[in-house]
Each structure stands twice: as C-alpha cells, then as structure tokens.
C-alpha cells in the first residue's frame, strides 16, 4: 500500500521492502514508521522464506495486535540523535515475540529502546494453510527528538507522560495465494502529552501494568506501590484512608496534595481535617499511572504538599469492553462496567462500579456507587483536549476504635465496636476540562474544574467522657460524646501554563510560567449527638468559609553542561480567608440557665450576637530546585531543595492573621539507576531526605479531628527497585523515617519507622493449551507489606506487622476468572493504635485516664471475580 511521500527501503539482508512515511510532524511528537512483512518461517523457524512457487500453500502474514512504542529515551536528550532503528523480531506461533535482533542501529540508547519495545509487541501469528507458524517481521522505529525538553506536569497539571496515541489506522495485511503478502506500511502519528520531567530521585512515575492483579482493588492499593507509603483506615469504608509517608502521619491525606488528572481533591476546612482527601470515588481500572513526588520539590506542587503529592492519571491502555462481577468474604459484591472504545485515545473511556459489603466484624457494612467518564479529543494537528466527569455516592457504617482493656476483658470483641451508631454518607461530583496545544515556541496548557462535595460522618472516640455537668445548670444526664461532622463544599478553579523553549550554550533550555487558582465555599459544622440518636445537643463548630488560593510559578530547565540539569524555580502562593463563625459563643452559659445554650447571645462580657467574622490574607514565596547529574549512562545523581506551604484550617484563623499557613522546608539527595538488560528493564532509586514543618497537625481524639501542634522535623532514607521482563514484574521498596517534635525532641507518635513492601507478578501463556483456538494465559501476584514498630504516646510501641496478599487469574478468550486472597495468614493485629482517655462505661465508674485504643486490621478474605472482556485478545 503506497501513500504519498512513500520511499522504499531495503533493510539489512532481508527481502522485505516497505514504505517509510516521512511526514513533517510537530517537533515534540515522535514518529514511528513500521514496516511489517511476513518472513514466514518453517517449523524450525528458518530465517528466510523461499521464493513462493505457484503451488506454495497460502500464507497469511502476522498481524499486529499490541504495539509498544518507546518514548524518546531521556538519556539521549543530551545529544538528540534522530533516525531509523530497524529491529527484526521473531514471532512465534502463539503470536509473542520470542527474539529480537538489531538490524540497523543509530546509537545505543535508541537501539536499546527499540529492542526493548519490540519484545513487547504481540501479533496474530502468521498462518500457513490455516496453521499458525513462526515468522519474522521487521519493525522500523523512527526517532526524532522533541524540541521541548521533558516538560514538567507534576501533580496538579493536566498533562501526563508522553504515551503514544492509538494509531490512526492499521492497514491489514492481505495475503496473496502465491507469495508472501506485500508488506504494509503502518504510519503512526504519535500525539502525546508532555512527558513529566524528573524532580529528583523521589519523583516516582508508577505504572500499574501487570501489578494490577495484586494492587488494583482500591485506589489506595495503587498508592501503596510508592515507596514509604502505609495506608490505614479507622473510619470505615467510606471514610478517607489514613496515609503515612516518610515520617508524616498525613491522616486522611492532609499532608499530601492529591489530584486526579490535575483536579484537586484535598478538601479545604473539612470537618474531619483540613485537607481531607477521599480517593474512594476513583475506579482503579481507569488509573493508568500514578505520579508521586515525595517532598515539595516541584513548582507545580501547591497547598497540602507537605509530605509530597500524588497525581492519579487516568486512561485505559488496553482498549476493551469489560463487565466484571465479584463476590467474596463478608458478602462483598462488586460490579464493574468499563468501556474503552478501540479506536479512541487512552483518555476516552466510561466506567461504573457498584459495591456492597457487610464488612468484617461489627458495624462495617458499606455501599457505594461510582461513575467516571472521559473523552479525549484532538485540537488541530497536534493539540489534545479532555473532558472528565465523575459521580460518587456512599453510605457506610463504622466500627470505630475499641479499648484494649475492653477487648482483653471480653466486653468487646477484637473486631467489635464500642458504639454501633457510627458511620456516614458522602457524595462527590466533578467536572473538568483541559486542553494542551503545542506550538513551535512551546506548549500551552489550560484546565478548569468544578467540584461539589457533601460529607457526613458520625464518630465516637471518647464515649461518655466530655459532657460534664456545669454548676448552676439543671441537671442533665450524660448525653455522650458522639461527634457529627457535616461538610459541604463547592470548589471551582483552574490552572494553566506556557512553556517556551530556546537554545543557549548550544543546548536546549526552557522556561515555563504558570498559574493556579482555586475558590472554595464551605460550610463545616460539628455537633454533639445524644447517644443512640441523631439529636444534637451542642455545637462545637459552625462556620461558613470562602477561601481563595492563587499561585504563580516560574520554572526553568537549564543544561549548563551535557551531564548536568538544573530544574527549578519559584512559586508564589496567595491565600485569602473569609471565615464567618456562626457560633462564636459556643460553650458560653449563664448560671441557672436550664441547659447549656449553644450559640448563646452573650459571652463573659455581656450580651452579643453569636456570629463573628475573621479575615486574613497571606503571601508565601516557595523556591524549589533540583539538580540532576548524569555520571554515566544508567546512573544519575540528584539533589533537591524546596519550600512549601500548607494553608491553615479556617477555625484557627484570627482577624488579620499575618501568616495563616504552615511552612515546610525540605531537602534530599539521591541516585537514579535505569538500565535495560533486554528483555529485562531494571530501575533503582536511593534517597536520603530531610523535612521541617513549623506548624504541624496532630490528631486529637477528644475533638475527633486534626489540631495544631508545634514544629516537627523528619529525616530518613529509602530504596526502591523495579524489574520488569517479558513474564514478570517486581517492585520492592524500603523506607526508614524518624520524626520528632522540635520543642522537646520527642518522637512524633503513630509514624512507622520502617516500611518495606514487595509486589511481584508473573504472567504469560499457560503452556500450549488451547481451546477452540484460544490459548490460556495466566497471571499470579504476591504482595508482602511490612510495617515496623511505631512509636505511640506514653513511650509505648506498636508491634510490627507483616501482611501477605496473593492473587491469581486465568484468561481464555473473552473470559477471565480471578481470585484474590488478602491477609493470607489471617494475622490479627491493630491497624491503628491511639492512647488517650475515654469512657465507654466499661467499668463501674468512669475511666478518665489514658489507655490504649485501636482499630482492627481486616482478617483473611477472599474475593472471586469473573470478567467478560471484549478486546483484541478475545478476537485472536
């Protein structure tokens, strides 16, 4: 098949000829021109086909099913070579690439990339007289370097790493009766998003890939693949997870800036904690990558990026229609429908899931529904745009904490509950529109987003401790400490950037300027409920807030030498608070009043209105810089320094407060190793880090939320290794962290000192078995999670834990069956431990002194899943 501009090439010693389409593309896109031909091999896999005779059996050449396009290797960006790399791939009768051979190379970096990519191609095998046979194909990879040197969409920007688009068309190979089919030229225009630039060794781009078999049940499973992350949850299935990262107890995400395709999900002034981030609305099957930057080292990172940032990047690589049904322990049921049309981009998909479970133990039932849909389209010849919509709702029960002495005495079971009235509801709706349009000068990106969020949580940490009688009041019985948190928020915002590229000192240099704007209108309210009812009797907090966060940043990407990259800039952050306290007199009372008056029209000085407004603004300057020194081909040393800020909870804002934010100072040094030992790809990282926060947040069980504390300092180290091959994928990491209070040097409680994790999968065809022409493929995964001893209050130490999960799945044609087992050893251990005073009437008299409380980790569970998949694999 000839197309305009086609030039015929003879490559190597092969007879294959074909077309290389040379088309002028935008400077930042990559061209991959493929030439396929049918070197049909005999049973022994002969290298060349004999000239066809008139009586030769009909031959059908192999057809491409799955491509793997290599991005332009970063190690080649220094010299920026271009040209064609030809690879001869041997395709086995099963359609897999059994061997690759460099036929024509350019430079080692490009050659390696092409060889590595070729090993991952899959074909519908060649056939001779209807029988699959081995064959050889030549793949031609055309590399052209981008003029825009690795742009940096870190957490919070709408860009994702460069990923080849789906090919515009794949020309089918039509066999002739007497000779091998005329090879077709497959011209692919790669229209990708800006590739993320590294901000040091703690900048992790996590592709789930085959690890999905073991780490794809919840969005937090994916987050745990990042080094140093430990997930707990004391609030129930609909409550945000508690996240620990590098010495930070980020509670429900308050110290991590979470985004989904650049849409922020941290909730300002949430009643459970300022910065609360609930990722349960994300359907894990539509998560393509997760980018975690540990530390505030990128000018793209904004509010809440104390410990770092996590950006869930959505997309469905394996195009398909999938319907799955799962059933498992504790009557857990999940239904998923996923549609990712074949001829659309990875960013086009629609998915919906329904989930219900009785939960383990007592009072842990939950129900939720989530829907996510995105369309990714093209603007002009090189631009992209996306529109994303999400909807989510949940209702859940919570077991809450139990007292250790009640469990020891048998009053409450290990998986029981002190107060069965705990639980909550939540809804979330998001709409986002973003576009990215490259030009000759650079890349322009814009995004706008809207979010509506409601949340209600009932939690009881202290039982009957706090509702004390006051002198002069009419006697009231102990009404209980149940906290009801109600939160509603409307968020609107946008971000944008423009990157300009030029040359200086003979090397490409760039500068990017950008902005971020976010407005939140929230109504957080906290009440106390009479035990066993939904009747409130007191108000702890009742606010109406309007918060504006504006930011401007500039970042440069400089290459003073061939081996040194300096990447950094400055971000200026502006916060504007307008807080109306609807109940500023909460707790005031008058002697002989019948009961405590909530929001009383008086205070200690006399009559007044119960409302009070506070306003404050603040401006912070955050410099950030990263140096990358490539000492040799696979080894890069990095060093980073950054200042970050975190806005304060509106409840702490006082009139004209000058600096209503906490300041984070961080530094780290590390090493990045990446080498392709075809067919194994090996990468490793090692980092030493330091972080200081001048005003930290600590969980207060008496209030059921985070409260301000003094400054803290954290330091530690991590190591991470990932090895991927044709039949396996291994990701392992270990992190050490040490966190102390500046005031007295004591340890910050609850933070794990050591976190180690290993996720392993093996995959591939199950022998030569076939049924009706379709082979069986299998995937097995195994995960080990070790959490070292954790410092607890009062010099206590929580014991270390070791959690094992395993999963296996088998696929035949359109059918896949999977089984996931979690907590294989049925280990019984506290997932979260706290020490504070509570009174759940467990003794004849109230208990007012501190004691141990905990939430139980889930026991052993099984989940079986049956899936129907209509994709290229099912059509083979």
């Amino acid at each position: 098949m000839h197309q305009p501009g086609c030039r015929r090439h003879r490559l190597g010693g092969g007879r294959l000829v074909g077309c290389v389409i040379s088309r002028k593309e935008l400077s930042f896109v990559f061209r991959i021109a493929l030439i396929t031909g049918a070197f049909v091999l005999g049973d022994e896999g002969a290298a060349r086909a004999e000239p066809a005779a008139e009586s030769a059996p009909p031959v059908k050449p192999p057809e491409v099913i799955e491509e793997n396009r290599p991005p332009y290797p970063s190690e080649a960006l220094i010299d920026r070579p271009s040209g064609d790399v030809a690879v001869t791939a041997t395709v086995g009768p099963a359609g897999d690439v059994n061997g690759v051979e460099l036929t024509h190379g350019i430079v080692p970096a490009l050659d390696r990339a092409a060889l590595n990519a070729a090993t991952r191609w899959r074909f519908r095998p060649a056939e001779r007289d209807g029988v699959p046979v081995a064959s050889r194909v030549q793949l031609l990879f055309h590399f052209e370097p981008p003029p825009t040197i690795a742009a940096q969409p870190s957490a919070g920007t709408p860009s994702t790493p460069a990923v080849p688009s789906a090919p515009r068309q794949i020309a089918p190979v039509e066999p002739s009766a007497s000779q091998p089919a005329e090879p077709s030229a497959i011209d692919v225009t790669v229209r990708g998003r800006r590739e993320a630039a590294s901000h040091g060794a703690s900048d992790f781009e996590i592709t789930v890939g085959h690890l999905a078999v073991i780490a794809n049940q919840k969005p937090s499973d994916i987050l745990q693949l990042a080094p140093g992350i430990f997930i707990a949850n004391e609030g129930g299935a609909g409550h945000a997870d508690q996240v620990f990262l590098r010495g930070f107890d980020a509670e429900q995400g308050q110290a991590i800036e979470f985004t989904v395709n650049g849409v922020p999900i941290n909730e300002v002034d949430n009643t459970d904690g300022h910065g609360y981030a609930d990722t349960h609305f994300i359907i894990p099957e539509v998560v393509k990558n997760l980018r975690v930057i540990e530390g505030p080292f990128s000018p793209h990172q904004g509010d809440f990026a104390e410990a770092g940032s996590a950006d869930y990047q959505l997309g469905v690589v394996d195009r398909r229609l999938e319907i799955s049904a799962s059933y498992g322990s504790f009557k857990t049921r999940r239904t998923l429908a996923l549609w990712a049309p074949e001829n659309e981009r990875e960013g086009t998909f629609a998915a919906a899931q329904l989930f219900q479970s009785d939960g383990f133990g007592t009072n842990r039932a939950s129900t939720n529904a989530s829907a996510m849909a995105e369309y990714e389209g093209e603007i002009g010849t090189h631009g992209l745009w996306r529109i994303l919509g999400t909807a989510y709702g949940t209702h859940f029960q919570t077991a809450g904490v139990v007292r250790a002495d009640d469990v020891a005495s048998g009053r409450v079971s290990f998986y029981g509950s002190e107060d069965p009235n705990q639980g909550g509801d939540a809804q979330r709706y998001t709409l986002s529109l973003d576009l990215q349009n490259p030009s000759d000068m650079g890349v322009l990106a814009q995004q706008v987003f809207l979010t509506w969020r409601t949340l209600r949580i009932d939690e009881d940490f202290t039982g009957f401790l706090l509702d004390n009688q006051t002198f002069g009041q009419t006697y009231h019985p102990q009404r209980g400490d149940m906290i009801e948190q109600d939160y509603t928020a409307f968020t609107a915002g946008g971000r944008g950037s423009d990157k300009l590229v030029g040359r200086l000192l003979g090397r490409p240099q760039s500068i990017e300027v950008g902005y971020y704007a976010r407005y939140d209108h929230t109504t957080p309210e906290i009440q106390r409920l009479r035990y066993g009812t939904q009747i409130p009797y007191a108000i702890d907090e009742n606010l109406t807030t309007d918060i504006v966060n504006l930011a401007l940043y500039a970042e440069v990407d400089l290459r003073p030498t061939r081996w040194l990259t300096l990447r950094g800039g400055v971000r200026q952050e502006y916060f504007d608070y307008n807080v109306l306290n609807q109940c500023a007199t909460a707790g005031e009372f008058v002697q002989n009043a019948p009961l405590n008056q909530t929001c009383a029209p008086f205070d200690n000085s006399g009559p007044r209105l119960p409302t009070q407004r506070s306003t404050a603004t603040a401006l912070a300057t955050e410099p950030k810089i990263t140096a990358l020194a490539q000492l040799s081909q696979p080894l890069t040393l990095t060093a980073s320094y950054g200042i970050g800020v975190q806005s304060l909870d509106a409840i702490y804002i006082t009139q004209n407060e000058r600096a209503p934010f906490a300041t984070i100072t961080a530094a780290e040094a590390g090493m990045i190793f990446h080498e392709a030992y075809i067919p194994v790809d090996l990468s490793a990282r090692a980092v030493g880090f330091y972080t200081h926060v001048d005003r930290d947040l600590i969980f207060n069980p008496l209030l059921g939320r985070l409260t301000q504390s003094t400054g803290t300092t954290r330091d530690g180290a991590l190591i991470s290794v990932r090895a991927t091959g044709q039949w396996f994928d291994e990701l392992a990491s270990a992190t050490y962290a040490h966190a102390t209070y500046d005031q007295d040097g004591t340890l910050v409680p609850y933070v794990p000192s050591v976190i180690a994790r290993s996720d392993s999968t093996v995959f591939g065809p199950l022998g030569r078995w076939r049924l009706r022409g379709h082979r069986f493929t299998g995937t097995a995964g195994f995960a080990v999670n070790f959490v070292g001893p954790r410092a607890l209050p009062f010099s206590q130490t929580a014991a270390s834990t070791l959690d094992l999960d395993a999963s296996v799945s088998i696929r035949w044609s359109f059918l896949r069956i999977g089984l996931l087992a979690q907590n294989l050893t049925n280990a019984r251990y506290p997932l979260s431990e706290f020490f504070y005073a509570s009174n759940f009437n467990s003794r004849s008299e109230p208990t007012l002194a501190p004691t141990e409380h905990f939430t139980a980790a889930p026991p052993f569970s099984l989940l079986a899943t049956v899936s129907i998949l209509l994709d290229a694999e099912s059509q083979r």
């Binding site: 019985p477 340890l747 010099s795």
Partner: protein
C-alpha cells in the same frame, strides 16, 4: 516467613530504639488505704471547730473513684482538667484502723505531677448505679450509707451518743446541688509526682475534721431544760430555773441541748447533721492524705 518477620522486626526495633521516645509513660500501681497512723490502744478523740469533743468508736467510709488531676478544678464545671491517674473501683476504709489495706484494682494512668484529686462517694441517688456491695454497718435495715460513724460527742457537759449512716440520696439533689457535686470531693489537695518507679499509692483518711460543721444537738429531739425545781426529776418539765441538774438528761443546766441518757441518736438523710457531716467528708484539706510509698 516467621524468620523473615523476626529479622525485619529486629532491624526495625534497633532503628526505633535509637530514635528516642514520645515522652511520658503509662503506669499502674497498687492502692492502699486506711486511717491515720496512731496508737490503737487509745481511743480516737478530737475536738471540732464547733467545740465538740468527739470520741469515735466506729468510722467507715466508702470512697472511689479517685481521679488525680494536673490542674486544680475549675469552679464552673464539675469535671475538668487532665486526669493522669485513676482508681475506678469503690472501696471501704476503716478510718480507725491505721493498717493500710489493699484496694482491688489499684490505680493506673500516666506519669506526671498531680495537684488535686477528685474523690467519689457512694450514693443511692437514682441517677447513679454504684454496684459495690456494702458490708454492715454501712448497709443495714434497708439503708446504705456513704459513711458510718458511731461514738460520743461532748460539749459543755452535754454528751450525745450517736451512731448512723451519712447518706447521699435524691433528697440532697437540686439544681444548685446536682448529684455530680454532692457525691464527690471536687478537688482535694495533693502533691504527687507519678513516675515509672513510684511505689504504691497510699491514702490515709483523717476523720477529725468530719464534724467541723456539725452540731450534734441537731440529733437531739429536746432543747436545754430551764431547771428551777431544785433538780428534782420531773421528766424535764420546767421548774422555774433553779439551776439544778435535771437527772432525766445528760445535759447540765447550761448545756447546748439535753440528750436523753442512754439514747444513741441516729439521723435521716434530711437531718441537717447528715448534710453537715457530708460537708466534712468533702473537705479538701486535711481529710485525705495521699502519698507514694517506696
């Protein structure tokens, strides 16, 4: 797998052990209670601020729970501050016995310095459900008392024999005197530094101030007889005031009241003496002495 877990734990513990602590410690200790140290061969006698000389034959009190607080209590609320140590079981103290007795359950909490202690009393008020089983004489004849006292009170020649229970009942509860206030000592003074090496917590109860506000004459049905009949026994009838001692009473002509000889006076929960004695039990200074043994 256990080997790997153990190895990882050793490494992690070494790492954690080098890093410091979170500060403070949880502690627990025995609790011992008894009367003040004295010579038991001698009667226990004392003089109240009202001028009564009291000789106790029997005195028992039900105490608990105990809450040791780092702050003095706020006057506006019934329970405030931070409790660092508690003893949640109720116990009976024979305040005339100087031997310290072990209290079931002991005390537990955290290290720190306590300056006040909240002491609970046994109550039969309906809003409380004190479950301790009281021995006689604290519980008898269908009645249950916070304390039981028996003895003799003398003032200006008037001798009142008394025996009975100091009770906390619904009759004492009102808006101005809620049960939370009536049934406890809000903040008895103490000065205790709890450490990980602290010995047993010891409580000695001194009843010598229990009756500082009490008038024993409120137990007596009749008042002072205006004798004028030369002291003849007339059943207490007025005899014109001749100053002679009426042989029917224990009161001299000039005594505060005229109790009947040989009568042991008791009281009900509504008698002023009950409230006065209860106030004495609730004294914040000089009544309850807490120390930490070696």
């Amino acid at each position: 797998m256990k080997l790997w877990h153990g190895a990882l734990e050793v490494v992690a513990l070494l790492v954690l052990g080098c890093g410091g602590t979170t500060g403070g410690h949880l502690i627990s200790m025995p609790l011992h209670a008894g009367g003040i140290a004295r010579d038991v061969s001698q009667p226990f006698a004392f003089t109240t601020s009202q001028g009564w000389t009291v000789e106790l034959d029997q005195a028992e009190v039900v105490l608990g729970p105990l809450y040791f607080n780092i702050d003095p209590p706020e006057p506006s609320v019934f329970r405030s501050g931070v409790v660092i140590v508690q003893a949640t079981e109720q116990f009976v103290v024979d305040v005339l016995n100087p031997a310290l007795q072990d209290v079931l359950g002991g005390a537990d909490g955290e290290t720190g310095h306590a300056v006040s202690v909240e002491i609970g009393f046994y109550t039969t008020a309906e809003s409380y459900n004190d479950t301790i089983t009281l021995p006689a004489p604290l519980a008898a004849d269908g009645q249950q008392g916070t304390a039981y006292v028996a003895g003799e009170a003398t003032k200006s020649g008037t001798v009142v024999d008394f025996a009975g229970r100091v009770q906390i009942t619904n009759a004492l509860v009102s808006g101005l005197n809620p049960i939370d206030d009536v049934s406890r000592v809000a903040g008895a003074v103490c000065d205790l530094t709890f450490t990980t090496t602290s010995g047993p917590l010891q409580l000695r109860v001194d009843p010598s101030h229990w009756f500082d506000q009490a008038d024993f004459c409120s137990l007596v049905a009749t008042s002072v007889d205006d004798v004028s009949d030369g002291g003849a026994s007339d059943g207490g009838a007025s005899d014109g005031g001749d100053g002679s001692v009426d042989t029917d009473t224990n009161a001299p002509a000039s005594g505060p009241c005229a109790p009947t000889r040989g009568t042991v006076y008791a009281w009900t929960d509504t008698n002023p003496f009950n409230t006065e004695a209860l106030a004495g039990l609730g004294g914040s200074v000089g009544v309850y002495d807490f120390t930490l043994g070696q």
